[in-house]
């Protein structure tokens, strides 16, 4: 059995491409399935990503498809490449990031197999668990596909070590340029705070913050704690903060050591994105708020008094 993991990466400062941390969790899922693990890096000038991938513990080989067609991980071009490479692999895995979710179903359809989305555990080489109905039910799904196509929810698997491996790097693949899509531009929020999905502590705000300016209280607390900052859908829809901060069923899924929910009522769609956090703190002035039902520590208080005080004491 050999497993192909599609590496995800983002464009960092000075267009330097950086391996997405969720790739490490995806390799961890592959290791649970068992067998040789190969990693595919599709891009243009993504040599740094390939080097990083070669160092991941447990990776036997890194395949690099370096071509202008793959520059922005456009699914119309990357999916045919992955489909072409799929021969000989038992599983194709990608992180359930926006790139993974964009590319992999296109691969599955090209291979005429059903995909299994966002697995949170590996039961055996063909059986996996995944949340459905916003995490209100957990389905056990078995696949009889010759090549199993799977996205991995990072929070379900502890990442493997980023260092320690020394995989061979091999160039592969003809260029697939479908010629039906092109990259126009990107607007990436610049922040010195840890990324939401990999932060050890996350502070999130909801409608209770009342406006975007009041998020400064959360930023101050977050900076003191070295935390990432998230938000509920209500806060994003109200325009308080940008959409990439949304935590929930259809936003980011996080599972930090500590999740501090501030002025968030706790709709099931929000809980779906954070209920696997190790410790949950809820601060809300409404003592009936559903968030208290999942919180390890609840504080019924006015957040505008509690947050500055908390910032002083931590």
């Amino acid at each position: 059995m050999t497993i192909l993991v599609i590496a995800d990466y983002s464009n960092g400062a000075h267009d330097q491409k950086v391996l997405a941390p969720a790739t490490l969790n995806t390799v961890a899922a592959a290791a649970k399935i068992g067998g040789d693990i190969h990693v595919l890096v599709a891009g243009q000038g993504a040599g740094a990503v390939a080097e990083a991938a070669a160092k991941i513990a447990g990776v036997a080989k890194v395949l690099v498809a370096d071509n202008a067609a793959y520059a922005h991980q456009l699914p119309e071009n990357v999916a045919p490449l992955v489909a072409e490479l799929s021969a000989g692999y038992s599983h194709i895995l990608a992180a359930a990031t926006s790139n993974g979710k964009n590319i992999l179903p296109r691969v599955a359809a090209a291979l005429n197999v059903d995909q299994i989305s966002e697995i949170i555990s590996v039961e055996s080489a063909d059986t996996f668990k995944r949340p459905i109905y916003a995490g209100n039910a957990i389905a056990t799904v078995q696949s009889n596909a010759a090549v199993k196509v799977i996205t991995v929810r990072a929070t379900g698997f502890d990442p493997v070590a980023a260092e320690g491996g020394s995989a061979a790097v091999e160039a592969v693949g003809a260029a697939h340029d479908a010629g039906i899509s092109s990259f126009v531009g990107e607007d990436l929020g610049q922040s010195d705070r840890p990324a939401l999905t990999s932060a050890k502590i996350v502070v999130s705000g909801g409608r209770g913050l009342q406006n975007g300016d009041n998020f400064k209280h959360l930023y101050a607390l977050a900076d003191k704690l070295g935390a990432g900052v998230g938000a509920s859908r209500a806060a994003v829809d109200a325009g308080f903060v940008p959409n990439d901060m949304q935590v929930g069923q259809t936003g980011k899924i996080v599972a930090p050591q500590l999740y501090i929910a501030v002025g968030i009522s706790g709709a099931i769609q929000h809980l779906a994105g954070m209920q696997d956090s190790k410790v949950i703190v809820a601060i809300n002035k409404d003592e009936e708020a559903p968030i208290f039902q999942v919180a390890d520590y609840g504080l019924v208080a006015d957040l505008f008094e509690a947050i500055p005080e908390l910032e002083k004491l931590v």
């Binding site: 983002s10 699914p75 999916a79 926006s98 599955a108 359809a109 799904v141 069923q249 410790v279």
Partner: protein, 249 residues
């Protein structure tokens, strides 16, 4: 320009989900069903394109049980011109649904197909991408803005670090994210008018599509319950607990 919108009948997003005692699935008996929220956004986007004079006809399609006609009527009340139900009793996988929609696309030849990015029941986030693969079309997934110009569409997408814009040749597939628009409510006169709009029912068999699956759901269980913790009385007590009991700061 003809626009095709695909919608799904799902459990209403406000309903508390209960897993069946025999772990065969989720209990849907006597539960309120609605149009999937992302599909409402897809219908709204098509209606806005028509109001702008970009779309000339909106065809709405659903793959599902006979009762999905309710959601198709809702879409007609919101502004779609006609509806197609591909009737299927079984629980289909995203690939099977994508193949059935592809058959409708082949027949209707729309320039743009708009779908929700994911259904809130299966949480798969697959159908739009699969339909794009099967059709050989470009895909603009998780869309927060859609601009048609000439024979291409610019789609702004919600991605992990922010936003990305891609340009796709028409025909193309778009899947909606939450911020694309705010869906309207159907007015009573439009609900009445929708009853007279055409709604065609076809079977999956008649479309000549195989819905065989490589996936099998073995069981469905409730998630491990998180036990409720304690209430602290002050910020000072909270900090003390986090430092000494939970040891997370």
């Amino acid at each position: 320009m003809k626009v095709l919108v695909s919608i799904k009948r799902v459990i209403d997003y406000n309903v508390k989900v209960r897993v069946k005692a025999d772990h065969s699935g989720v209990d849907l008996a006597n539960v309120k069903m609605s149009m999937n929220p992302f599909c409402e956004i897809a219908v709204e986007e098509a209606v806005r394109l028509k109001e702008k004079g970009v779309a000339t006809e909106i065809v709405v399609v659903s793959i599902g049980p006979s009762t999905a006609q309710e959601q198709l009527r809702t879409a007609l009340a919101l502004g779609a011109d006609r509806a197609i139900l591909v009737e299927s009793a079984e629980d289909l996988t995203s690939l099977a649904v994508a193949k059935l929609i592809k058959a409708v696309v082949d027949k209707e030849q729309p320039r743009l197909v708009i779908l929700g990015k994911q259904a809130i029941d299966s949480d798969n986030n697959q159908t739009g991408q699969m339909l794009a693969a099967l059709s050989g079309y470009g895909q603009g997934t998780f869309a927060s803005n859609v601009e048609i110009s000439g024979d291409s569409v610019a789609v702004t997408r919600e991605i992990d670090g922010g936003e990305q814009t891609v340009s796709l040749k028409l025909p193309a597939i778009v899947t909606t994210d939450l911020r694309l628009n705010e869906p309207r409510y159907a007015s009573l006169p439009n609900i009445m008018k929708a009853k007279k709009k055409p709604l065609e029912v076809v079977t999956a068999d008649a479309l000549g599509v195989s819905t065989a699956s490589t996936n099998k759901t073995v069981k469905v269980e409730p998630p491990a319950a998180r036990s409720a913790g304690i209430k602290v009385k002050s910020v000072a007590e909270l900090v003390e607990k986090l430092k000494n009991e939970a040891k997370v700061i």
